[in-house]
């Protein structure tokens, strides 16, 4: 069932030349991700996590090996074709949100669609509103990022990732800047989206975040150390409920 596979990574290697030295960040990584999976990629710093993330996000190409995204071989694509692939197949969520300042939530969410010439302005608006409603920010369309809390900003970023209906949401330490409660809220949203059939690849170094996913890939020194199906998946909603009710003091 290759059609079910969103990602196919076979023996992917990535080498950087730093002066005269060759740094081998990825030394042959292989794994597949099927549609509907919620995969966390974990690893300490220097494990090749970031390099793998750039590769998965089509921001970078492997030196060697095969990376198939939704049955497209990324290695053969030009810079512009990669941009198009990012636009239509991947939804990015960053640690620092990366929203455009002084721009309304609605316009931030519309942004990926602006780079898709097949979508008109009316459809663009409707889809952006729908995406913001999906992350429960339907009331805050006109708020600019500095009028929103960190969690809300990250939800806008998730809406932006959803709006182009990607095959995969790629999150890079998406909860890294948030407190525990808000991280759980975001994870609960992620689980909800996963429940609706979205494939999510979540890069993190926090084990408690990984516990909410269906599968964990552990990287170490540029290789896959462990690839585990998470049988005892935790519900972020329950974790949220179990937190002390308020932090008032």
């Amino acid at each position: 069932m290759s059609n079910n596979k969103i990602l196919e990574i076979q023996n992917v290697k990535r080498e950087f030349t730093m002066g005269t030295e060759i740094v081998r960040a990825l030394k042959g990584v292989s794994f597949d991700v099927n549609a509907g999976e919620f995969v966390t990629i974990m690893g300490s710093s220097g494990s090749g996590k970031t390099t793998l993330l750039n590769m998965l996000g089509c921001l970078d190409k492997p030196t060697d090996g095969i990376y198939m995204l939704d049955n497209v071989n990324v290695k053969e694509l030009s810079r512009d074709e990669l941009a198009k692939l990012r636009n239509t197949k991947i939804g990015f969520v960053f640690q620092a949100y990366n929203l455009l300042p002084r721009t309304s939530a609605l316009e931030n969410v519309e942004l990926p669609l602006l780079y898709n010439p097949t979508i008109g302005s009316k459809e663009r608006r409707e889809r952006a509103i729908a995406a913001l409603e999906a992350v429960k920010l339907g009331e805050r369309l006109d708020h600019t990022p500095n009028q929103l809390s960190g969690g809300q900003q990250q939800r806008v970023a998730i809406a932006r990732a959803l709006v182009n209906e990607p095959v995969m949401i790629l999150a890079d330490e998406a909860t890294g800047n948030l407190d525990t409660r808000t991280s759980y809220e975001i994870m609960s949203l992620m689980q909800e989206l996963n429940g609706q059939g979205k494939t999510i690849v979540f890069v993190t170094h926090e084990p408690d975040i990984a516990a909410f996913s269906t599968r964990t890939v552990m990287l170490r020194d540029g290789k896959v150390q462990k690839d585990l199906i998470n049988d005892s998946r935790k519900s972020a909603k329950e974790a949220l409920a179990s937190l002390p009710a308020t932090d008032d003091y």
Binding site: N54, L59, R79, A83, R86, N98, R102, P117
Partner: protein, 406 residues
């Protein structure tokens, strides 16, 4: 991304940094405004020269003595004694392209009437002079050919002379004035012509029959110059040839001998003066254009700052699907918007300056569409030229590094 979206995006970006955008535009605004103003001043002075020359008579031909070298010493043309009444008579007979002809014997001196006196010049001419110089009589009458034959002591006054000799507003007609020691009866007043372009008061003259001036004032049989008019403006050149042939003949000049006179047409004078004013205009415009270039460099500078400042934004845009060309166009259009908005403001400012200057400094200005179109085009080109490199830099950023840029 669609162009309409790109334009909207550029407008938003500029709105967010209004003051910065305005300061960047300032160079362009000043450049364009000064180019337009300079060109309109140049065009205005050119037109007013042309107007005043044609008000003197556009088909006018001037014949003056030309200094040759009697005994080795060059003499001033006006001191030369080569033009006589014989020349005038011969030209009248033998030059068919000449319509009117009048000699001119002039002298400066003090005009006196009662207790008033005024330094001016008297021009001895014949009745045809009025038509050649496009002069007219406001009050009284012009002297006649008979007055010329009889060397009558009659004269017509220019308005400036009237104002100075008759300060209390008396009617000058019929009064006797003296020019030096010679009494003249005033028989008319000339219609005022105002200042010429060269700052000369064209109304500060007395005209009288040339015979009277020659005999009584100058005691000479020679003329300082001869004025003639061609039958048509385009016959000027033919008339000049005729005048040259006829005068060489009457002056008995052998082949190879230098002319002892010179013939000038109004068209020549016009070309000469225009070339001077064109040169000045070109010079001023060149100086103004430099500020346009400096304005362009200002745009380039600010665009580089803007690209650096928005590196993360560029990284984000690339990561969600912006191609290099999308980023390039985004910044290029922003630069063009700055320069074109600056251009529009500059054009408006230049036009207002061109309208205000005549009333403030008394310089004539004519706004030419050409200067507006040119400076506007230069603006757009400046925007593209100076905006391109920063935009190219933006479009070539590596999205991975741009996203992590601090």
């Amino acid at each position: 991304m669609k162009i309409s979206n790109l334009i909207r995006l550029a407008m938003l970006a500029l709105q967010r940094n209004k003051l910065r955008a305005l300061l960047t535009m300032l160079g362009i605004i000043i450049g364009v405004a000064s180019v337009i103003t300079m060109m309109s001043i140049g065009e205005g002075s050119k037109q007013s020269i042309n107007e005043s020359l044609s008000s003197m008579g556009s088909n006018m031909i001037t014949i003056m003595p030309y200094s040759n070298e009697p005994g080795g010493a060059r003499m001033m043309g006006s001191n030369m004694k080569s033009l006589t009444i014989l020349d005038v008579q011969e030209l009248k007979k033998k030059a068919p392209n000449i319509a009117k002809i009048s000699p001119l014997a002039s002298s400066s001196g003090q005009a006196i009437s009662g207790a008033s006196n005024w330094p001016t010049s008297i021009q001895g001419v014949n009745p045809e002079y009025l038509e050649i110089r496009k002069l007219s009589v406001k009050e009284g009458i012009m002297f006649t050919e008979d007055n010329v034959k009889s060397s009558a002591k009659v004269c017509l006054l220019g308005q400036t002379v009237v104002d100075n000799l008759f300060p209390n507003g008396q009617d000058p007609i019929g009064k006797i004035i003296r020019f030096g020691k010679i009494p003249f009866q005033v028989i008319g007043v000339l219609t005022p012509k105002g200042q010429s372009n060269f700052g000369q008061d064209q109304d500060d003259i007395i005209i009288a029959p040339y015979t009277t001036v020659q005999k009584r004032v100058l005691s000479s049989i020679y003329f300082g110059s001869i004025y003639a008019s061609a039958i048509r403006e385009d016959a000027s050149d033919a008339a000049v040839d005729e005048v040259t042939t006829v005068l060489r003949e009457t002056h008995r000049l052998r082949t190879g001998e230098e002319n002892d006179f010179q013939v000038r047409t109004q068209a020549e004078l016009m070309t000469m003066l225009n070339s001077t004013s064109s040169m000045m205009t070109a010079l001023l415009t060149a100086v103004a254009s430099i500020s346009l270039v400096i304005g362009g460099i200002g745009i380039m500078n600010i665009m580089y700052v803007s690209v650096t400042e928005r590196t993360r934004e560029i990284g984000l845009r690339m990561s969600i699907g912006a191609r290099g060309i999308d980023v390039l166009l985004q910044f290029l259009i922003e630069a063009i918007m700055i320069s074109i908005t600056g251009g529009v403001i500059g054009v408006l400012l230049g036009i207002s300056a061109s309208i205000i200057i005549p009333s403030m400094l008394n310089w004539p200005t004519v706004i030419s569409e050409f200067s507006i179109v040119i400076s506007f085009l230069v603006c757009a080109v400046t925007g593209i030229f100076f905006g391109y490199y920063p935009a190219l830099k933006a479009s070539r950023l590596d999205p991975i590094e741009a996203l992590r840029y601090e």
